[in-house]
Amino acid sequence: MTAATPITALTIRLEDELFAVEASKVREILDLVPVTEVPHASPFVSGLINVRGRVVPLADLRVMFGMAQPEPDQDTRIVVMEFDLDGEPMIAGILADKVHDVTDIEADSIEEAPKVGMRWRPEFVRGIGKRNGGFIIIPDLGRIFETQGGRSAPAAASEERSAS
């Protein structure tokens, strides 16, 4: 199971939860930059940012995990990550309320996400790690982005509606 693989992770805070993303996929961490809203895009990837001359989508994981989305403050960061989407490499920024540190999460401390007792869709969680008595959620970014990649079609329909 993927849940049992040890990972070196970058921990980020979203609302009051700790999330871990694979450190090897992180390209850089940016302070908040101006975000361009994309009309009709799904709320999860509603913005575009400029990362060193590249136009990169900005994703808000809080949308996918049903969390509140407070206004950005001085702790807000953008984690620029590189990963595969449908077999093609892509770069996206992920909004973080705060970036903590890089840590190793041992395989035996990772447990599979429980099917019940969780307010998140289980398929979006790869596993849950434990550290210092707290939980770290390891999101399945590949799965989340794939789901969203195919979801922009309904947005086009809303475009039709708004035009009429």
Partner: protein
């Protein structure tokens, strides 16, 4: 700088020559007696043979040699370039292609092609003895005379890869000969240019009448070289000719310097390097835009001057770089002539293939990616669009079907269409099939265009009955996807009994455009300037009709408009003094209502990621002078959606 593999260089050149050969053969089929066509075809063959031998492609050289020998009869007027010959020659060309691509593999079929070729050129009398090293057979040495050939190669011969040794070997095949090198023109070491062949040769040949054979050897050098051929008196000793030569030398020694070396007219550059250049220019353009913005706010005139200067330079650089990437679409069209030729033969349908607009230029990457969709469309037009000859005759049409391929500029786009004069699409049949597949229900109302678009649905293509009845099924979903990927559109139109036209509309380039920056609410958007016709103020009273009629009267013609605030669901009330940007695409035009027109800028087009590829209103994004991202409006899509909006409004009123 990586050193190119010479074998790969040869392959590349050979591929081009083969394309040239193919085009020449197909032209020849139309115009069999055109001697300049015959000659250029022959020359292509000869060059392939020469360089093939040089790069160690012996199988190629041997095969081409025989091909060339057969074709030589056509050149000499001993045989006609008829359809049968062209057909075999095209097979031979394909065979050469295979030999070049996989020289290690044992590729069969060569000898059959050559045998067929011989039969055709010899007018039906197979000559199995034709082991064609033509000169050798005419070797009645006994009656032969002695000829003295003196030649100096053109100064650029080595640069273009001529190997003097091969030339001498070819001469040696004409007859027994004595070769003497003429070294008198070799300059002193300090001034010696190793790329210039300073050595000449004197070749005494024993042959009957070698003039024609010698001409063949020097076919491609003849124009720029010195060559004299004189008949020697029976027993004239060889040495006696030398004094004349030596006497002539002082004059000649100066000559190489005077010879003008023709400048290289083209340069082969790997495509990746061009892409890289384009990226750099893109970054430069963005940096320049930022500088201009800062300069505009500054009172420093020196800074302003530099910013303006840089703007001019970078826009020039941008145009030049774009120009490098633009390729006339004719290079692509020529490929399809062969396709149609072969399909015509396969299906037994006589076809006239007409191409227009070959000069229309498109970005190279675009051209490459268009090849496959166009193959599909042409194949469909021939296979399913055109009826068989007797059905055509029964319908009162000429037995020969026509397929047209054309390219034309249309605003900021290029329109490429494939049309046939066949039976047209069977709309009832398409509808029935779509209902059967569950794509639509019996009461779905569709416009003609929407109905045709069903053909592009992925499930549709596999339905066998449709392809055999009304055609247009196979791989159309792939075509659609490719064109979507290029941010283009496909339209189909058909007239029952008269044929079908598929039109691809594509942006001119994928790289940089001039844009008009506008503001809608807080968002800024770029409209491709080439699509902009004009800008007008939105009439004050238009707001009163916001839900009633969204039309403008532009000098007497009706132009519908879309409020971008509505389209983009922009929060907040509309501002006063809104502007309307009139954009056009294809036949339609539409006004886009914006809050403010900010100005014009150069726009580096960045593709939207997959996550946003489903959003049709935008063709990409760009980075503005202040470093923020702006979306580029897809005018073609907006025009289309504006039109459907008008249709709905009218329908709504009628209901």
């Amino acid at each position: 700088m990586n050193i190119a593999d010479p074998t790969e260089t040869f392959r590349q050149e050979a591929r081009e020559l083969l394309d040239q050969l193919e085009a020449g053969l197909l032209d020849l089929e139309q115009d069999p007696s055109n001697s300049s066509l015959i000659n250029s075809t022959f020359r292509a063959l000869h060059t392939i043979k020469g360089s093939g031998a040089m790069f160690g492609f012996t199988a190629v050289a041997e095969f081409v040699h025989e091909f060339e020998t057969a074709f030589d009869r056509v050149r000499k007027g001993q045989s006609q370039a008829n359809t049968a010959l062209i057909g075999i020659a095209l097979d031979a060309k394909d065979h050469i292609h295979r030999l070049i691509e996989t020289p290690e593999a044992q590729i069969a079929g060569g000898s059959e092609i050559l045998a067929a070729l011989r039969i055709v050129v010899d007018g039906g009398t197979p000559t199995p003895t034709a082991k064609p090293a033509p000169a050798k057979t005419e070797k009645p040495a006994s009656a032969a005379k002695t000829w003295r050939l003196v030649f100096f190669l053109p100064a650029d011969a080595l640069v273009y890869g001529t190997n003097p040794l091969l030339l001498l070997e070819e001469l040696a095949q004409i007859g027994p000969c004595t070769v003497t090198a003429l070294t008198d023109r070799v300059p002193v070491l300090e001034t010696l240019d190793p790329e210039v062949p300073h050595i000449g040769w004197q070749v005494d040949i024993v042959a009957d009448d070698p003039a024609a054979a010698i001409d063949d050897v020097f076919l491609f050098l003849r124009d720029n070289m010195e060559l004299t051929l004189t008949e020697l008196a029976a027993e004239e000793p060889v040495i006696e000719a030398a004094p004349e030569l030596i006497a002539a030398l002082p004059k000649l020694i100066e000559k190489p310097e005077a010879v003008e070396r023709p400048a290289a007219t083209s340069l082969r550059v790997p495509a990746e390097r061009l892409d890289e250049l384009m990226d750099r220019v893109g970054e430069l353009v963005i940096a320049q835009a930022r500088l201009s913005q800062i300069a505009a706010l500054s009172s420093d005139t020196a800074l302003k001057t530099i910013a303006e200067e840089l703007e001019r330079l970078s826009s020039g650089l941008r145009d030049t770089t774009m120009g490098i990437r633009m390729v006339p679409i004719g290079t692509l069209f020529s490929r399809f002539r062969r396709l149609v030729h072969d399909l015509s033969g396969e299906l037994g349908k006589p076809i006239e293939f007409i191409t227009t607009g070959e000069d229309t230029e498109l970005d190279k990457t675009m051209i490459e990616r268009l090849a496959d969709p166009l193959v599909h469309l042409i194949r469909n037009a021939v296979d399913h669009g055109l009826e068989s000859a007797d059905r055509r005759a029964a319908a009162g049409k000429s037995a020969k079907g026509t397929v047209r391929l054309s390219a034309v500029y249309s605003g900021a786009e290029v329109a490429i269409s494939v049309s046939d004069d066949g039976a047209g699409l069977d709309t009832a049949r398409i509808r029935a099939k779509a209902e059967e597949n569950g794509l639509i229900t019996a009461d779905t109302k569709l416009t003609e265009q929407e109905l045709y678009q069903l053909i592009f649905a992925p499930g549709f293509s596999t339905a066998k009955e449709v392809t055999s009845l009304s055609g247009r099924g196979v791989g159309m979903d792939v075509v659609k996807r490719t064109i979507d990927g290029l941010r283009g559109t496909i339209e189909l139109s058909t007239v029952p009994g008269q044929g079908t036209t598929a039109t691809l509309r594509l942006p001119l380039t994928l790289a940089i455009i001039d844009g008009m920056l506008v503001r809608v609410g807080k968002g800024r958007y770029t409209i491709p300037l080439a699509a902009v016709e004009e800008c007008v103020e939105l009439p004050e009273n238009a707001a009163a009709h916001a839900r009633g009629r969204n039309f403008l009267d532009i000098r007497g013609s009706l132009v519908p408009y879309l409020r971008l605030r509505e389209v983009f669901a922009t929060p907040g009330p509309a501002e006063l003094h809104q502007k309307v940007v009139i954009v056009s695409s294809g036949e339609g035009r539409i006004g886009l209502v914006v809050d403010q027109i900010i100005g014009n800028n150069q726009t580096v087009i960045k593709q939207l990621s997959k996550l946003h590829s489903g959003i049709k209103s935008f063709s990409g994004a760009t980075i503005l002078g202040d470093g923020t991202v702006a979306l580029i409006l897809d005018t073609a899509h907006l025009v289309a959606s504006g039109q459907s909006y008008v249709d709905r409004t009218i329908e709504g009123k009628a209901a």
